[in-house]
């Protein structure tokens, strides 16, 4: 079969999905009806393939905002939305690559795809009719509703619409797609604001100890010959078996702190690097062997937090996830908080901690698991009545977090004119099992650390 020329009157652009941000949703015309299947091409009788091809090429290149089905790494087709596009160097008129967002998944799966991964028959033409949203009973367009549903699915609830839009605007396309860090080459999840000199590359090579980043492998290899750091700079404050925790002061190790933030941002969505690292402490968790102390995760903490956040960012690097390090980091940050309370004595009674919001989907899961384990352990053993405040004093968990945890587990009921806490041992055990036991323990006898202390 001969090659098919694209239609001379290119209607592809107009026919496709309108800009999401456009308040006035236009009804998009139906592409298929405009390209009449009865039209003959130069080859003679139109076959199904020909008209289908003409139909498909009519929609190219796809506009930003298009919704279409795309073949993902699992071999199956998933709905995506086109976020960005770029022309390929071959110069063919319709030769574009598309940066897509898989609407079922978090933005971390966003990636550049080739045209052949897209099912052009599924390009959506939508008449944006009004539907009723069941949750809010508001009438809105299908487009608006879908946007809200997606926001809800991806765990962005805590950001208001304006900040979310602003955040997504400048972070919409990942700049660095892959990094090499020590033993692993890792696909990144999100945009990170590296200095402008790094805008032209998609892969970075990190020194796994001082976290310097470079554009070429040779540069890293040269760096490794001179870099004598074999662990994070800073004090080792915990060591149990092969696990070590290092405390790094952002003021004393500024470049390291900044490097760590650049690196972490690749895997954290709603965090920003707006302010400098001076006012932060970084707690870097490492597995140690004869090559050094290798970072597996970290959390950061403001030296002084106005909102009683005891943790700013928390991350387990992808190759080390699902091994219990995240739970360890949370438990560790809480032990530190308890130490702070103990050191500060009665002056700070009622001091609590909570992680900085917004929490990522994985972060919220980990925290819910942690809070569930701590609270239900107490409820199983406690005799008599207990108030939420008492639970908070014992655990340094914020009352709101305790409430939301118990409510999400449906353990707070209201009967006989009062609230009660349900502590049926079978129910509690089921929740504890779901929250996940095990993971790495924090052995407090191996923690040698002094918290910041008030002076004067």
């Amino acid at each position: 079969m001969g090659s098919l020329d694209p239609p001379s009157n290119s209607q592809g652009g107009k026919a496709l999905i309108h800009d999401d941000d456009d308040e006035n949703h236009r009804a998009a015309s139906d592409v298929r009806s405009e390209l009449s299947p009865a039209a003959n091409d130069s080859a003679g009788t139109p076959t199904e393939n020909d008209s289908s091809k003409r139909r498909k090429s009519g929609v190219l290149p796809l506009e930003v905002g298009t919704r279409v089905m795309c073949r993902w790494r699992d071999g199956k087709y998933h709905p995506v939305k086109v976020i960005e596009r770029r022309k390929m160097s071959s110069g063919e008129p319709n030769d574009y690559e598309y940066y897509v967002h898989y609407t079922e998944f978090n933005r971390r799966l966003d990636e550049w795809v080739k045209l052949e991964q897209l099912d052009l028959d599924s390009v959506e033409t939508v008449v944006d009719e009004k539907v009723e949203d069941k949750v809010t009973s508001l009438k809105m367009t299908r487009h608006q509703k879908r946007k809200i549903d997606e926001i809800h699915v991806e765990g962005h609830e805590e950001l208001d619409a304006a900040s979310l839009r602003e955040h997504e605007e400048f972070t919409k396309v990942k700049n660095i797609a892959t990094i090499e860090l020590g033993r692993y080459e890792i696909e990144t999840w999100y945009f990170s604001p590296f200095p402008p000199e790094y805008n032209d590359c998609t892969k970075l090579y990190f020194c796994e100890f001082c976290l310097s980043f470079m554009k070429r492998k040779e540069q890293l290899q040269r760096h490794m010959k001179k870099c004598d750091l074999k662990h994070p700079p800073g004090d080792e404050i915990y060591r149990s078996g092969t696990l070590s925790m290092f405390e790094v002061d952002g003021k004393k190790n500024k470049v390291y702190g900044q490097n760590l933030c650049y690196l972490a941002k690749l895997f954290l969505d709603h965090k920003t690097l707006y302010y400098d690292v001076d006012l932060f402490l970084f707690y870097v968790l490492c597995e140690c062997d004869d090559r050094g102390c290798h970072m597996v995760g970290y959390f950061s903490k403001e030296k002084h937090s106005e909102e009683s956040y005891n943790l700013a960012c928390i991350l387990t690097l992808p190759p080390y996830q699902r091994k219990g390090y995240g739970k360890f980091l949370i438990a560790f940050s809480n032990v530190m908080l308890l130490y702070e309370i103990a050191y500060e004595l009665s002056k700070k009674e009622g001091k609590v901690g909570t992680p900085e919001r917004p929490l990522s989907d994985l972060g919220l899961l980990s925290y819910r698991g942690y809070w569930t384990r701590v609270l239900l352990d107490i409820l199983k053993k406690h005799k008599g009545n207990i108030s939420i405040k008492e639970l908070s004093d014992m655990t340094a968990i914020k009352a709101e977090d305790i409430l939301s945890t118990l409510q999400s587990l449906e353990l707070i009921q209201y009967r006989k004119g009062q609230h009660v806490i349900c502590a049926d041992p079978k129910v509690l055990d089921r929740h504890l099992k779901a929250a996940g036991r095990g993971g790495l323990e924090v052995d407090v006898s191996k923690l040698i650390w002094t918290p910041y202390k008030e002076q004067g």
């Binding site: 978090n106 799966l109 020590g182 033993r183 080459e185 890792i186 999840w189 000199e197 796994e208 070429r216 040779e218 890293l220 760096h223 001179k226 074999k230 662990h231 700079p233 800073g234 004090d235 080792e236 004393k252 470049v255 302010y275 400098d276 006012l279 140690c288 062997d289 004869d290 102390c293 992808p318 699902r322 438990a331 032990v335 308890l338 130490y339 009665s346 899961l365 701590v374 009545n385 939420i388 405040k389 014992m394 655990t395 707070i412 009967r415 006989k416 009062q418 609230h419 009660v420 806490i421 049926d424 089921r430 779901a434 323990e441 407090v444 040698i448 002094t450 910041y452 202390k453 002076q455």
Partner: protein, 284 residues
């Protein structure tokens, strides 16, 4: 089953709540309300028993995440030369302060220029070139410091103050021919003029606080006016601090298998930690 239509009062976090181990506790025949409630609770419990609630586990398994592979040159690039000391590692000063370490790493354009420079003959090794660029940066920074033109934030282009002859004099010990030094200096100066800021990251001033460009990061934080200052108390390896640590661990009690901790008798914490000593006997 009729639908519960009452609205519970908001929960008071200070109020002690009964802990109900079994729904039987709340079953009584006094009022129809309670019977209805307990019926609903029982139904809810039955439903609970039927539906295996593992929301968190299910969600975790369903969250797909990007992937990673092992780097095949890792074992060659990273040597097995780390000897972990028996005591916990203490920080030494930042490498920059110790002065010996070459903080600068050649970037792409440096490497490309060097390759060109070395076309006919290997005049300069990458390590030497890197060291020279580093020293030029440091020397220029010192020159600007002496001239009093160091700015705290990046407002305007930062010019080069270091002159060639001053550089040559300071770098005499580098054992590099004048011509080579001149070429390197020329390359570095031109790069600085393009970048309009230092090429060594440690010497680049941060963006100003009022810079609204979201791509610029690490602005200095305005220091809030504080009545009290906090300082980091460096752990001393003496009897006193370990005694304090022991007292603290007496209060921070591990629950079960050392995994999560809680504070024992939080209301008993008083000004003097020593008063808790007799409670220690009741610990187990």
């Amino acid at each position: 089953m009729s639908r519960l239509s009452f609205r519970p009062r908001p929960l008071d976090i200070h109020k002690k709540l009964p802990i109900v181990k079994s729904f039987k506790d709340f079953e009584d025949d006094e009022a129809p309300t309670s019977t209805r409630n307990s019926q609903i609770l029982r139904l809810a419990a039955e439903a609970d028993n039927e539906v295996h609630h593992v929301p968190s586990k299910k969600l975790a398994a369903e969250i797909p995440t990007p992937q990673f592979v092992v780097v095949d040159t890792y074992e060659r690039d990273y040597s097995r030369s780390f000897c972990q000391p028996t005591s916990y590692i203490r920080a030494r000063g930042a490498r920059a302060e110790l002065g010996e370490f070459v903080e600068y790493d050649l970037d792409n354009e440096d490497e490309d220029w060097l390759e060109e420079f070395n076309t006919d003959k290997k005049i300069l090794t990458p390590e030497k070139f890197e060291a020279l660029l580093f020293k030029l940066e440091v020397l220029d920074h010192k020159a600007r410091e002496r001239a009093g033109v160091i700015i705290p934030t990046l407002g305007s282009p930062i010019p080069v103050l270091l002159q060639l002859d001053a550089a040559v004099e300071s770098l005499q010990t580098q054992a590099v021919q004048y011509a080579v030094l001149e070429s390197v200096y020329g390359y570095w100066k031109e790069k600085r003029e393009r970048w309009q800021k230092p090429i060594l990251r440690r010497l680049q001033p941060p963006p100003p606080v009022n810079d609204t460009n979201p791509y610029n990061v690490f602005r200095p934080r305005e220091k809030a006016h504080r009545l009290h200052t906090r300082r980091m108390q460096r752990r001393e390896n003496n009897v006193q601090s370990f005694e304090k640590l022991r007292q603290v661990t007496a209060i921070v009690v591990p629950m079960g298998g050392l995994y999560e901790c809680s504070i024992r008798h939080p209301h008993a914490i008083s000004n003097n930690l020593d008063e808790d000593e007799d409670e220690e006997e009741n610990r187990h």
